[in-house]
């Protein structure tokens, strides 16, 4: 589905590359989370996958990046957007600014692709149902909450039927309720649609619950790549400045005092932490 082969990219006039010798493969219908400290190259990787690099951001791109077997560098952006959808951090700037209702806003991409009106209406209505946007379909996209706005942005991209969705910190500017709404929408997508989701996110508990794979970037390089449990409990995360979940931190501290069962891996979610501490308590009760 996605194949990066020794990709290095340097922005114009930059001294150091934003991405350095990145090689990875992402399979179909998986949810891949990308984590990393600020300036690690997360957004650059997303921009590359969406084709903004090198079509919008000119610079020096080395190596080969393929999406669906098509070389990103040689495929026109207008064609790439039908394969790869991109959702930005700021829900406000993603609105076209030219539409009166949320329903029309969702249709904007299809209008640009010249989709016939009847087919467009069907696709828009289907996406409205999928993302539970029925209540706000006829409201102005500027009169809805941040969480709803981001769901509209997600729906506006998904309606174009991309096989890959790249989400660059989609909840960064949202309150907890808005973030939850967006996460639920992404979960609906991955559960019901065969779409590959690549998400930049720092909410590690959510990543641990829903991601199939976590890639950690640091200074433009892949430093960790594996299952959420393996990556999110790695001591390297704290070293490079990535927030580790409170559950992992608590269990690690308990482990130092031999209060965490040695046979158990460190937890990444609340459920796993509760389970571990229950087992630890049982063990000490039996000892006592």
């Amino acid at each position: 589905m996605i194949q990066l082969d020794h990709v290095t990219y340097t922005y114009p006039q930059a001294k150091h590359p934003a991405l350095s010798d990145i090689s990875l493969e992402i399979t179909e219908s998986s949810l891949v989370a990308i984590v990393g400290p600020s300036g690690a190259g997360k957004s650059s990787l997303c921009a590359l996958l969406a084709g903004f690099i090198p079509h919008h951001f000119h610079g020096i791109l080395q190596g080969r990046a393929l999406v669906h077997g098509q070389d990103i560098a040689n495929t026109p952006l207008a064609e790439l957007v039908t394969h790869v959808g991109y959702v930005f951090q700021n829900p406000f700037t993603q609105l076209s600014g030219a539409k009166l209702t949320t329903r029309e806003e969702i249709a904007f991409g299809l209008e640009n692709l010249g989709v016939p009106r009847l087919e467009m209406a069907e696709r828009v209505d289907r996406v409205i149902e999928l993302f539970s946007l029925r209540d706000i379909a006829n409201r102005s996209p500027y009169e809805i909450s941040g969480g709803e706005m981001q769901r509209v942005a997600l729906a506006s991209i998904f309606v174009m039927k991309p096989r890959v969705l790249v989400l660059d910190e989609p909840t960064a500017q949202l309150d907890p309720l808005g973030a939850r709404q967006v996460f639920e929408a992404i979960r609906t997508l991955t559960n019901t649609q065969s779409v590959t989701v690549i998400i930049v996110e720092d909410k590690t508990e959510w990543i641990a619950t829903f991601a199939d794979r976590v890639i950690t970037l640091h200074e433009g390089r892949v430093v960790l790549d594996g299952s959420p449990d393996a990556v999110l409990t790695s001591p390297l995360l704290a070293e490079i400045g990535i927030r580790v979940s409170h559950y992992t931190q608590a269990a690690r501290a308990a482990s130092r005092h031999r209060l965490w069962p040695s046979e158990l891996a460190l937890p990444t979610t609340l459920d796993k932490a509760i389970d571990g501490f229950k087992r630890a308590r049982k063990k000490y009760e039996n000892l006592g």
């Binding site: 919008h56 207008a78 700021n90 406000f92 329903r103 029309e104 904007f108 991409g109 010249g114």
Partner: protein, 229 residues
């Protein structure tokens, strides 16, 4: 407007405003909105044109009354009346269009009749996003005030404060524009195909006939005016 502007009869623009624009505003339930805004637009013009033309119209001889060295003259008032009538018609017709037709619908209609899509987008977003840009500017003003910037003091300090306001406003606007450009690309804005539209504009036969009638009438009236010279 063409008829009003090309007419030699000075009362025609006012007559068109009273007997065409106002009834249309009543029909569209926009009378109060239109009346209030038209008055607000017209009043400064009315005041300045009446005073300037009334007192200083070149070559005027019929004095209505004198005030010291100044004399209000009939020719000047007539000229001011004619000019104001045209401004009234222009403002009334423009505002009626603005209040009765949403810019997005207007642009959609224009695009469907061959207006370039990118240009239409620029026009409609400029209108739609203006209130949001104003809100953003206000947020920046408030943020700077919270950090001790004085924006309601003497002119010198206010002009210095302007620099601290313009910088963040321009910078954030540029960032927004850049991200919006990318977001548009992500939604196939520059796809090389003919665009379609979810929204269907209902252009009735009566509306089309009315449009043609307006065009034919305007041309005929202008031809009559030119021929009658």
């Amino acid at each position: 407007m063409l008829i009003g502007f090309s007419a030699r009869w000075p009362h025609l623009p006012v007559a068109l405003f009273v007997f065409l624009i106002l009834p249309l505003a009543v029909w569209g339930q926009l009378l109060r909105e239109l009346g209030r805004t038209t008055l607000a637009v017209i009043f400064p013009f009315a005041l300045s044109i009446t005073l300037v033309q009334g007192f200083f119209y070149p070559g005027a001889t019929h004095v209505i009354f004198s005030l010291g060295p100044f004399a209000l003259k009939e020719e000047g008032l007539l000229f001011a009346y004619g000019t104001l009538g045209k401004i009234l018609l222009l403002a009334g017709a423009g505002l009626l269009l603005l209040f009765s037709t949403h810019p997005a619908d207007l642009i959609l209609a224009l695009v469907q009749h061959g207006f370039p899509n990118a240009l239409a987008y620029i026009v409609v977003t400029a209108i739609q996003l203006l209130p949001h840009m104003q809100a953003k500017a206000m947020a920046i003003v408030n943020a700077q005030r919270a950090r001790g910037l004085e924006t309601e003091t003497n002119l010198w300090r206010r002009s210095r404060a302007l620099l601290a306001l313009v910088g963040p406003l321009v910078f954030s606007a540029l960032v927004d524009v850049h991200e919006r450009a990318l977001a548009l690309e992500a939604r196939a804005f520059s796809a090389p195909c003919s665009k379609t539209s979810l929204k269907e504009l209902h252009d009735t036969r009566e509306e089309a006939l009315a449009r043609w009638a307006i065009i034919v009438l305007s041309i005929a009236f202008i031809a009559w005016q030119i021929g009658g010279l």
